[in-house]
Each structure stands twice: as structure tokens, then as C-alpha cells.
């Protein structure tokens, strides 16, 4: 049969995926669903490509991202959210991120200065360079990275990760001026820079404003962490207190432990529920022996005998304040004293912008910018990152840097900023009836160092997933937004098959008698796609995925070149077999050429696909599901229906029905290798018999 006669009935370029909640929550709007899905298929290098296309420094985010994506992940409504950040880390390590080289060419002559080399500055430099501008980064400290370098402790972000990213920027041709504090923007313009991006961060620790705060032994968190991270070994003594409830307080406390402090307390004036720090970080700090005193804050510090006597007061929670949290109210007469060697204040940070910059400063000492263009009050001067927003996350800073690069490009090219067209979002919660049917699976976390090992030094505490765990974790993704859609409404006969076959009870008849498949509930199992008698339903297509038709085509054009017979086609679950690499081991000794068509789920394989495989020259076909790993219970039922239908047809045309088999690869009682060998042997014999019969005829 000539390949050109092959009916590809569905539009190949169709992409109508909706934006899942994780992607919306991500400041960079990374295609999280996409790379998690690729990891689940074991296609880690491709996952890394997707990651790198949406994030200039993914290795950094893989360590320190606060993962707002996980907070909105709808898997959390079922059991636990997907461990997205850890999966990204896996893709970075196993996908070979270190090998990737970045290239950039200079296409424009306008030079751009980036003042400050925190995540926002680095990201801006990266994207401006990609756009073709000559870029110079000015950094006051001796090394690039801003807060990544001087704020975040090494146990959370190993410096070599940062160094690799900086190295890449150098490769791309970004000019780097460290130990260079910019004092005047006029000077930069005189030096020929056509645009300036101010991203100096928020390094100034806020003061408690209490008596004795100037005493030796009292230090603010930002300064403390900067000193440690720049290689000084400040002596903290044996007992240390950190004041505050944010990540800096936690970082400072844990760093103090690693510097040899025996007793480390965090004083926080609200309770754990109100702590802005990452809950996982809090948990880890507690594991390491940090003690958190809730509803406590210092009101006076006195220095006696080289120690600090800290007078504290207890609080109770009052009414909700402007920040949406209950206001801590001091309890009169509850004062008490504690003694420490060092007190680290970490109650917030603000930017410090040199007055000579002549920039308009707003609330919290931040630079005021136009929210769309990111322009300050001075022409050609843009600003972003913590210097504009106040202390925020690395990912937010990266997003600000990316946006700034785009705006600076528009400014220099005299273009109007255009609003970005975004995919429609999936925002609704899963319905209880949908949740009920989803097979529960626990979140798998990568292993961590034991607490006593952690506090010995600054080694990164989180280890990397092994391959199997990463694939299993990624498989938990519900694929929000990739679900089924009635693409050809005019074909729909409203037969209600989809409504009847859906294991999640998602399709429904609306009041007009039209069938609806709500995208926010669909779990993308694909059963209705294969059961629709009008072939009116498709799965929304994530990028670069082939439909089964197209994949079959691809497989056969490859198989034709190899010329090895007999040819066996396998429709295999792209996760169960593919993801773990079990597949390649299965037929090392197979006496046949086995071509694999990876499918989203074997429940999406239609009888026509199987028949077509035979038509295109396959001698045998097997359908291999992932067995007990499947997100649904009834997948095998549907596979059997379709296999039986094709068997009947084969029988009617005088072909052996055994030519088609259905395997469940990871079912314990079944040894897939053995069954597969039996199958290939059988097909081999049938093929041989057919060839002999042919020769006899001739």
C-alpha cells in the first residue's frame, strides 16, 4: 500500500493546549507540564531543552526556586503536588546541562549597561546578549551573582552552579566588570551606553529600632550572610539568635549552626502559620536543631561581659492587619531576658539607591518604574528586581530581567511594547467525583543528607532523584490542560459514548443537549478519543507530540530503511516502558525487528491503528501497557475491546488472530520478557511459513 494513500484525518499542526495552573503561577511561565511529561517519558534531554527555553539559569532555579508552581499544582487536590523543582534538578543533572554552550552574536551597536549582577541583572544580560546587544555588567562585589552569591547560603546553592552560569555569560560575550561600583549614571551614558538597567537588589537590612541595637555582636542578616558567603568566617560564639520569620532568618540561623554555634534560636513575633519562610526550609532548620521561639521579639539589648542580654516580650495574636496576617500584640508585663553571643536581625531588607542616580524613589526605598515599560524617571534608565519590588524570589527577578531585556530592546529599536498573547488558563478546581477516581500516588522526594551530616559544613543537602523515582514522580502529573476536546463539533452525533466511557465522569450534556468535555476536569486518558464513533474528539496536543497516525508513519519509514524482517510493531505506553528504559532491555535477543510507537496511554490506541500497522507490513502487533502503574483501573479493559475487534477482522481475512497480543508490562505475575520472546518466536515462525509457502507457489 503506498504511503500517500494513508488517511491522516486530523490536522497535524493542531495545538490548543490550555495553560495549567503551574505555568500561570511561575513568574517565568515555564512550560512545566511539558517538561514534567518529557521526564515521565524518560526523554530527559528534551525536557532540559524545554526548561532552558523558558529559563536563562535553570540550574539555579533547580536549587533555590520557591516553586509557586507546586503550591497551585492540582495534584495537591488529589494527594500531594508534583515535586516540580526536584524534577527540574533531575533534568538538569541527567540531561547534561553542564555541557550546553550558549552562543550569541552582536547584531546591534547600542551598548547596554547592567548595574548589579543579581538574578535580574544576569537574566537581562543573557537575553540582551541573545538579542544581539553588547552588554556590560557592573558589579560592586568581587564576584557576580548578587544575592545568589552573597545572600543564599552555599548549602542551598553550590557556588559551582552559579559559576557555570556566569561562565556561560562570558562565553556569550557579556563584558563583566566586578569590583566596580557605579556612582553616576551620567558617566555610563558618557561612556557610550545607550540604555542602563538598574538591578542593585535590596541588600540593606532593616533595623529593629530598639535600644542597644548598635552593640557589637548584633548584626543584620544580609550583612552576616554576605560575610560568610564572601569567605569570611565570622565568629558567632556558641549561642546565636536570629530575629525574624522569613527565609533570611532561617538561612542565618542554619548558617550560624554550620559556623559552630551550639545553640541557635529564632525569635519570631507571630506563629509558625504566619511565617513567610518556605515551610520545607523551616522543617529542615528544625531537623538540624534550630529552635524557634514563637510570639517573642526583642525590645532591648544590653551588652554585659562580652555577651548580649536580650530583653524580650511575649506577644499574642490580634486582629488581621494590612498584610492579611493577625497583628501581634505585646503582652504587658511578659518581659524576660535571654543571653546570646550573637544576635542576627533579619526582619526585612530594602534597596539602597545612591542619590547621585537621581531616580525617583517610592515606598520602601524602592525605585519607581512604569510597570509596563520598566522605565524610571530618567530616559534610557530601566530598573527591575528587588530594587523595584523589594525582597522577592529568584524566579521573580529572572522574570523581571527577561522583561527588562525585551523592553530595552523595544526602547532601542523604537518599538511599542506589545502585550503578549497568552493561552487561556485552566483555573478551576477538580471536582470531588473526578478526584475520587484518580489513582492515588505518594509524592516521591529526592533523598537528603541526614541533619547531623548537614551541619558539618556547607554541602548541598538535597540529593538527586534516581531515574526510576524521577519518572515515577513525573508520572503523577495530571496533565492539566492537555485533555480531550470535541474538535469536530459538526461530526458529533451526540451518541454519548464519551460520557459513558469516561472513567472520571467528565463529559456531560448541557442544557441545550450538546455534549461538553470540560477541559479543567479532563484527565487526558484518551479513552473517549478512541471510542468516539464519529472520530470527533482529539486530545489537545502538546508541542512536538505526534499523533499515533503520524508516529506509525514515522516508524514504518525508518523500518523500511533497515529492511529487517519480520517486522513487529508495538504500541507501548510512553511512560511505563519508555520512561524507565525497561524497553530496550526487553528484546536484545528478539529474532525480529521491533518498532515502537509510543502512545500517551494504550487506551488511546484505536483498532484502526492496529489494523493499519498490519496493512503497512507488520507481521505482528503487540500493545504494551504499563500495568499497575497506570493512572486508571480500566485501561486493560479498553485495550482488550480493541484487540478483540482487530482479531475478529484478521480472522475473517484468514490471518492468525494470535498475531496481535496485549501485554501488561509491569504486572508482577507476568514476565514480559518471556512473553515477548514467545511472541516474537511465534511471529517469526508464521513469517517463515508464509515465505516458504510463497516459494512453493513460485
Amino acid at each position: 500500500m503506498p504511503a500517500s494513500n494513508f488517511p491522516v484525518s486530523r490536522k497535524a499542526s493542531f495545538d490548543d493546549s490550555l495553560m495549567p495552573p503551574c505555568q500561570i503561577a511561575c513568574p517565568l511561565h515555564m512550560e512545566i507540564g511539558e517538561y514534567v511529561d518529557l521526564i515521565a517519558q524518560g526523554r530527559v534531554m528534551e525536557a532540559l531543552q524545554v526548561i532552558r527555553s523558558g529559563n536563562p539559569f535553570p540550574a539555579i532555579c533547580a536549587y533555590v526556586c520557591t516553586h509557586p508552581c507546586e503550591d497551585t499544582c492540582r495534584r495537591g487536590q488529589v494527594d500531594h503536588p508534583i515535586a516540580i523543582r526536584a524534577l527540574k534538578r533531575f533534568a538538569i543533572e541527567f540531561g547534561g546541562d553542564r555541557m550546553i554552550q550558549e552562543e550569541a552574536r552582536t547584531t546591534y551597536s547600542e551598548k547596554v549597561a547592567v548595574v548589579g549582577s543579581g538574578p535580574a541583572g544576569l537574566a537581562a544580560a543573557y537575553y540582551l546578549r541573545k538579542l544581539g546587544y553588547p552588554v556590560t555588567i557592573f558589579e560592586a562585589h568581587s564576584a557576580l551573582g548578587g544575592m545568589l552569591r552573597v545572600g543564599i547560603p552555599q548549602y542551598r546553592l553550590p557556588r559551582e552552579v552559579l559559576d557555570i552560569e556566569v561562565q556561560r555569560l562570558t562565553q556569550m560575550g557579556v563584558e563583566i566588570r566586578t569590583n566596580t561600583r557605579v556612582v553616576s549614571l551620567d558617566l555610563l551614558f558618557e561612556l557610550g551606553y545607550k540604555a542602563v538597567f538598574i538591578t542593585v537588589g535590596a541588600h540593606q537590612g532593616l533595623r529593629l529600632g530598639i535600644e542597644g541595637e548598635e552593640s557589637p555582636g548584633v548584626v543584620d542578616g544580609a550583612t552576616f550572610l554576605r560575610e560568610v558567603n564572601l569567605g569570611f568566617q565570622p565568629s558567632v560564639g556558641t549561642s546565636v539568635a536570629a530575629v525574624g520569620g522569613g527565609n533570611v532568618a532561617i538561612d542565618a540561623a542554619r548558617t550560624a549552626l554550620r559556623l559552630g554555634a551550639k545553640e541557635v534560636k529564632i525569635l519570631y513575633r507571630r506563629t509558625r502559620a504566619e511565617m513567610p519562610a518556605d515551610p520545607a526550609e523551616i522543617e529542615q532548620a528544625l531537623e538540624e536543631g534550630v529552635e524557634i521561639c514563637f510570639l517573642v521579639a526583642p525590645i532591648k539589648i544590653t551588652r554585659e561581659n562580652k555577651r548580649l542580654r536580650v530583653t524580650c516580650i511575649r506577644f499574642e495574636l490580634g486582629e488581621t492587619d494590612a498584610s492579611g496576617r493577625p497583628r501581634p500584640v505585646p503582652i504587658q508585663g511578659s518581659e524576660f531576658d535571654m543571653e546570646f553571643d550573637t544576635l542576627i536581625t533579619a526582619i526585612g531588607q530594602a534597596p539602597r539607591i545612591p542619590e547621585d542616580f537621581h531616580l525617583r524613589i517610592g515606598k520602601g526605598s524602592t525605585i519607581q518604574v512604569d510597570p509596563v515599560t520598566l522605565l524610571t524617571n530618567r530616559p534610557g534608565v530601566f530598573a527591575g528586581g528587588d530594587a523595584v519590588t523589594g525582597p522577592a524570589t529568584v524566579t521573580q527577578a529572572l522574570a523581571a530581567g527577561r522583561q527588562a531585556a525585551q523592553r530595552i530592546d523595544e526602547y532601542l529599536r523604537h518599538k511599542y511594547p506589545l502585550p503578549q498573547k497568552e493561552k487561556p488558563p485552566i483555573a478551576k478546581d477538580l471536582l470531588p467525583k473526578t478526584i475520587e477516581v484518580i489513582r492515588k500516588a505518594h509524592r516521591l522526594e529526592p533523598e537528603r543528607l541526614a541533619p547531623q551530616e548537614r551541619v558539618q559544613g556547607f554541602r548541598p543537602i538535597e540529593l538527586i532523584y534516581d531515574w526510576q523515582s524521577a519518572v515515577d514522580e513525573a508520572r503523577r502529573c495530571l496533565r492539566c490542560g492537555m485533555g480531550a476536546e470535541i474538535l469536530f463539533q459538526d461530526r458529533c452525533a451526540t451518541c454519548l459514548n464519551c460520557l459513558r466511557v469516561c472513567p472520571y465522569h467528565v463529559p456531560y450534556l448541557d442544557e441545550n443537549g450538546t455534549i461538553q468535555i470540560p477541559a479543567d476536569q479532563c484527565q487526558a486518558c484518551g479513552i473517549c478519543v478512541a471510542e468516539c464513533p464519529a472520530q470527533a474528539i482529539v486530545l489537545r496536543k502538546p508541542r512536538d507530540r505526534r499523533y499515533i497516525d503520524e508516529e506509525l508513519h514515522h516508524v514504518f519509514s525508518t523500518a523500511k530503511q533497515s529492511g529487517f524482517r519480520p517486522l513487529i510493531v508495538s504500541f507501548a505506553c510512553q511512560y511505563g516502558l519508555f520512561g524507565t528504559g525497561t524497553l530496550s532491555g526487553l528484546w536484545k535477543e528478539a529474532q525480529a525487528s521491533i518498532s515502537i510507537v509510543p502512545v500517551l496511554c494504550v487506551a488511546t490506541v484505536e483498532p484502526e491503528h492496529i489494523l493499519r500497522a498490519f496493512e503497512m507490513g507488520a507481521e505482528g502487533v503487540f500493545v504494551a501497557g504499563c500495568g499497575e502503574q497506570c493512572a486508571r483501573e480500566d485501561t486493560h479493559f479498553w485495550v482488550r475491546q480493541r484487540v478483540e475487534k482487530v482479531r475478529r477482522a484478521l480472522g475473517q481475512m484468514g490471518l492468525e488472530p494470535e498475531r496481535i497480543q496485549a501485554f501488561n508490562v509491569r504486572v508482577k505475575e507476568e514476565d514480559p520478557v518471556q512473553r515477548l520472546h514467545q511472541f516474537t518466536e511465534q511471529i517469526g515462525q508464521l513469517y517463515l511459513a508464509a515465505v516458504l509457502a510463497q516459494e512453493v507457489k513460485m
Partner: protein, 227 residues
């Protein structure tokens, strides 16, 4: 809905044997819903026929496929006039009505039935269809609590149940519910058991002159002076 099942492949192969170019014509209504001749079945049959042909090593037939919304209206047939002209035969996966409408519309093209039209019925569970109406033209469902004894009683009796009912099942087939027991139970539920006590005279089967015709249009009458 009209329910049908696809004919065995051998029979279809025999039917199309004399024709080189064959159009497999699906129907997007009842045949789609009952899974006998919709878009999916058309493409499955198309593949199966090509594969069967390839197995025999012959290259006799050329197939094409198309599915119209409804084969029982001539207007839809007009949409495939060009396709029909290019083929030697049409293999219709429509019900018996569709086959005949196609045949009437394309007088010079043989139209072959790809399905056996079975009955008028409903889906009772996934993949199971049951007959519900015999189209007798004399509906008595008001008296039988909405359950048709003509269709659902093996004997089609109007005054049941007969003596062959046992445990609510029919003597002819123990898997089939006795229609008259169903009627009794439902009348009881509706509080209309008196309908069971009535005698229903036999129906006059001679009132069905085939083929039947329905005219639902008032002919314009000159005498009423509309001109």
C-alpha cells in the same frame, strides 16, 4: 434510533468483487451512534478491506471513504455527487433507508448494503442495544404503561401475560424479561392496575398496507381562493 450491525467482511468482499472503485459511505446519525457505520467504522472497514486485498496479493479494488451527516435525505446525497461519479459502486454503511435513498439518487451506480439493519431500539448499557418499537402504526403504549408488548413480548400478545411466564422471564428465552410482567409491575406502581383487567381486542394487521406513506402537508386548493 435505528440499530444495525456491520456485515461480515467475507460478505462485503463478495458483494464488491465485481467493482473496481468502491466508495465506502458512512452515515453520521444512527449508524454512528450504534457503531455500525460512522466515521470510525468507515475507516476501520476501509483499512480492513485494503489489508485483505493486500493479503491476497491482488490489486483489484480502489477504495475511498466518506461519511455524510445522514443518508436518509437526498440533499445529503447531492453533496457526494462528484465522489459517486468517480466510483463503480457505493458500499453504504447507512441503514436500509440510506442504501435505498442512495440508490434512488444515483440511478447509474450500484449501491451495496454494508450493514444489516436490525431494529429500532435503544442502548440499555454500554455496547448493548435492545429493540423497543416495531413501527406497527397503531400505538397502544398508553394502555400498557409505556412498555410495548408488540415488540417486547415474544408472542406480541395484547392481553398478557401468557402461561409461559416464569419468575418474570419469558418461556422462549430465560434471559428476556416477560413484557407483561413488566407492564403489570409498572401499572401497579402507577396505580393503574385496572388497565390489566380490561380486554383488548385483536389488532387488525390488515391496516398496514405496505409500503406505507405519510403526507403531512395540505395541498393548495384552488377553490378556497388563495390565488
Amino acid at each position: 434510533m435505528i440499530v444495525a450491525e456491520q456485515k461480515p467482511l467475507e460478505e462485503i468482499q463478495r458483494m464488491i468483487a465485481p467493482y473496481e472503485k468502491v466508495l465506502i459511505l458512512g452515515c453520521g446519525t444512527c449508524m454512528t451512534v450504534c457503531g455500525a457505520g460512522g466515521e470510525r467504522e468507515v475507516s476501520f472497514l476501509h483499512s480492513a478491506l485494503r489489508l485483505a486485498q493486500a493479503r491476497t496479493g491482488s490489486n483489484t479494488h480502489q477504495f475511498s471513504e466518506y461519511t455524510v451527516k445522514r443518508q436518509c435525505d437526498p440533499e445529503f446525497m447531492a453533496l457526494i455527487a462528484d465522489r459517486a461519479r468517480e466510483v463503480d459502486a457505493i458500499l453504504s454503511l447507512g441503514c436500509g433507508i440510506g442504501v435505498q435513498v442512495a440508490a434512488e439518487h444515483f440511478p447509474d451506480t450500484p449501491v451495496l448494503p454494508g450493514v444489516n439493519t436490525s431494529f429500532m431500539g435503544t442502548i440499555t448499557e454500554l455496547g448493548v442495544w435492545d429493540e423497543r418499537c416495531a413501527a406497527c402504526g397503531d400505538c397502544r403504549l398508553a394502555e400498557t404503561a409505556g412498555i410495548c408488548p408488540i415488540t417486547r413480548c415474544t408472542k406480541g400478545i395484547l392481553n398478557g401475560p401468557c402461561a409461559g411466564t416464569k419468575n418474570g422471564k419469558c418461556e422462549a428465552n430465560k434471559d428476556i424479561d416477560c413484557a407483561w410482567i413488566l407492564i403489570y409491575e409498572r401499572l401497579e406502581r402507577l396505580g393503574q392496575l385496572e388497565k390489566m383487567r380490561r380486554y383488548y381486542p385483536p389488532r387488525n394487521f390488515r391496516t398496514i398496507p405496505r409500503p406505507r406513506r405519510l403526507v403531512n402537508l395540505v395541498k393548495a386548493d384552488m377553490e378556497e381562493g388563495n390565488g
